[in-house]
């Protein structure tokens, strides 16, 4: 028994358990593979240790948000870096966002900043159709998300579970844009068309890349990754002749009552710099909101595409409102 206790003591005294005076706690739904290198760079430049909580693919966007809500009586996080612009409104609604006008955000277009500083957007993604070029000829290439319910593609399309991730926001945005009746009819048609409801956007990418489905709805970074991996995938920005593609900037929020407000502000300042937007464009195919940040070949800017004109605050309200119906639609 002595040996066991000694071993345990040694293991718990390992470097992982060290606490430093200068630290910041960040909860993020931005993929760990992209966000962690940025935190490491911040650590290197500032000397502040970043302690992060990440989401899994299956709980993307909602896992850490729900943790923030669960911990609201005694917040543990200093900063929330959301992978979409809607979740911050859920924190604002619960008075969990601390207003902060970061000097780094001065050159970000005003529509992407809360006037009171409760949230600030940067590096964006768009919702796109990933199409397997081996299964779909150029003549039949889908152009609208309505093609997901086209009987021509019955049983050959996929979307991620709309209870989680950016798909939630997309569906809510459709309710905001089209109204209740049209949006419900579209989702019912999707069901009738045997669209596969899979665990995540990453899974949609996998299915399309391997040709298991002809096309599916995912995010620009999924498409960029698939192309980078050499998969026969074409990224289609949907509804460019119609309502436009849904653009989703990532968003930063300073958490009210967080344990390290000072270092929290420093991390927000760092995340909102043009350099981080450039890095997110290069590593994660996120479109910069600033017009002068360079983008890698193949990646479009927000100004290059027709974006869906939708009020994110209304989308947030609709998202909570449609949740029970959506859960029924999914079957949970």
């Amino acid at each position: 028994m002595k040996r066991i206790v000694l071993l345990a003591a040694l293991l718990l005294l390992n470097p992982a358990c060290k606490r430093t005076a200068q630290e910041v706690v960040v909860y993020t739904s931005v993929d760990q593979v992209f966000s962690e290198p940025i935190f490491k760079e911040f650590e290197r430049k500032s000397g502040i240790t970043v302690r992060a909580v990440f989401d899994t693919e299956e709980t993307k966007s909602t896992g850490v948000l729900n943790r923030l809500i669960a911990e609201s009586q005694h917040p543990q996080a200093d900063v929330f870096w959301a992978n979409d612009p809607v979740r911050p409104f859920l924190l604002v609604k619960r008075s969990l966002a601390q207003p902060y006008l970061s000097p780094s955000a001065a050159d970000i277009p005003a529509t992407f900043r809360a006037p009171d500083g409760t949230w600030t957007d940067f590096a964006a993604r768009a919702r796109v159709l990933l199409v397997n070029k081996k299964r779909v000829s150029p003549a039949e290439m889908p152009r609208s998300i309505r093609d997901l319910s086209n009987p021509r593609w019955k049983g050959q399309t996929a979307i991620a579970n709309p209870l989680f991730g950016t798909t939630t926001m997309h569906i809510a945005a459709l309710f905001t844009m089209w109204g209740e009746e049209q949006a419900r009819a579209f989702l019912t048609a999707l069901r009738a068309n045997n669209a596969r409801i899979v665990s995540s956007n990453g899974e949609v990418k996998r299915l399309v890349a391997t040709g298991e489905t002809a096309f599916g709805l995912a995010d620009t970074d999924d498409g960029f990754e698939a192309v980078k991996e050499g998969a026969p995938v074409e990224v289609v920005y949907p509804d460019q002749e119609g309502m436009g593609a849904l653009v989703m900037p990532t968003s930063t929020v300073l958490v009210k009552g967080g344990p390290h407000p000072e270092t929290g502000r420093k991390l927000v300042d760092y995340l909102l710099t043009p350099d981080v937007e450039r890095r997110m464009a290069e590593s994660a195919a996120h479109m910069p909101l600033r017009p002068d940040v360079p983008v890698p070949p193949g990646l479009k800017r927000v100004s290059d595409i027709k974006a869906m004109q939708v009020d994110y605050a209304r989308v947030a309200t609709d998202m909570e409102r449609i949740e029970p119906w959506l859960r029924q639609w999914v079957g949970l």
Binding site: R3, I4, A8, L11, L12, N14, P15, A16, C17, V25, V26, D31, Q32, V33, F34, T49, R51, A52, F54, D55, T56, E57, E58, T59, T62, L65, N66, R67, I69, A70, E71, Q73, H74, Q76, A77, L163, F164, T168, R196, I197, V198, G202, E203, R206, L207, T210, E212, D222, E225, P259, M319, E320, E323, P324, L326, R327, Q328, V330, G331, L332
Partner: protein
Amino acid sequence: MAEAVGRALRRALLRREQMLVLSAAGAVVLLTSALPLARLLTEIPGAGAAALSVLSAFRPWLLLIRSLMLAAAVTACAIAIGVPLGLLIARTDLPGRRALWMVHAFPMFLPPFLLALGWFQLFGREGFLGGEVTARLLFSEVGVVAVLALTFSPVVTSMMALALLGMDASLEEAARVAARPWRVATRILLPAARPALALAAIVVFALSVSELGVAMFLRVDVFPAAVFARLGGIQYAPGEAFALVVPLMPVALALLFLERRLVGAGSFAVAGLRGMSRAPIPLSGWRPAIAAGSWSVAAAGALPLAALALRAARGGGFGKLPQWIGQAPWTSIGTAVVAATVIAAVGLVLGHGAARRLRGASTLDALAVLAFVTPASVLGVGLIAVWNRPATSALYASVAILVIGYIARYAVVGIRAVASVVLQSAVHLEEAAAAAGARFWRRLVRIILPVNLRGIAAAWLLAVVFCLRDFETAVLYYPPGREPLPVRIFTLEANGPPPVVAALAVAHVLMTALVLAAGVLLVPRRRPE
């Protein structure tokens, strides 16, 4: 005067020693397992009509039935694989049976999600052996049952083998004088090992019914997913989630009842008498064919691990490990060892109490079972509600919360494992010590612990491995920057390069293998008879 009071107090404490020791162990279970569940119970009235309407809807009940049916199918398949293998390993001259046991048993020590990831590398549409048909089968109820049955069948195999190895040889030897091997196996060995089989079946059923990761990955809707959708989904609704736990309570109680009836009452053998002294049953001419069949089953269980290793090697994943692995292995091992030590200590007191039917021990045992079958996400949210307070902030924000969570979920492993060990040991030593005036604590430390040391050490090792393989509990509240390795694997799985994710999975496999090897060295060896 003070001396007299001190003496009186000491006498009073000694009189209540058994109660105090049981209470201390019980307090650990109550604080870690029961308190979070009780805290969530208070959420139901707040959730009001919504919580009740969840239970009045048809869909959750349908999912519950589906989950129970899937768990039953997994259990049946695990028994079909595990019973013959356990018998072959423990009682026959099968070549390489110890190695076979190790290869076959190893996958059960890994997170099932990780094995599903390996099967996907093999049988996904673009997998090493994959095609459209294999992918369809994998992403279906058939796939879930197959993955879980192969993962959990070693539980049956191992419990059967351990029971048969520990069995008194005299019955079997008497039967072998007159009967053929098949008759000895079916009429003597299998009936004698029935309690072990029942326990194994209950464990496999409980593990399968609460498993979320594999079903979610393979896109099969199950009951724990309905609970999870209310905690990890759009709307945070812990009241509704907990309302959904209510139907699981009869399931937990039924499992407990079955366990008591089939296992507790049927203590079948006394270990340490003549357990190992028999000659193995010869397989004769069937030996090569049976060996080939047995090794194929063991190899099938290890296939997904080979697939992960191959994916990692081909994509250069191992080279990138230092960049991505972080401190996660240290966090995993450190917290698992500490939690398992507490679990073993609690198991010693309450497991012994449950086996000897001491007052209160059975109730605490039942609570631990409930915490085990409750979906991990519910327990996790309860833990946040209880421990995220200013007074306990130091614990909540540190790795201590991982230890607390592991104890909450896996206390049952220590209690049940020790109970089954104590049930098989002779009670007369304890009775003799009590008659000679030894009090409870002294009997516990000087008699029960040394007599059952090997079994208790095995329970500790089992608890370490359960904590190491945990993903679903820890993912909800792991301390920032201190995630255990399974959590790191699955957070990186989101758009992370597949070879790196596969390499991390292989690192987890190696870590578990090393811990098991070190644990086996630490577990005291059986004394020669």
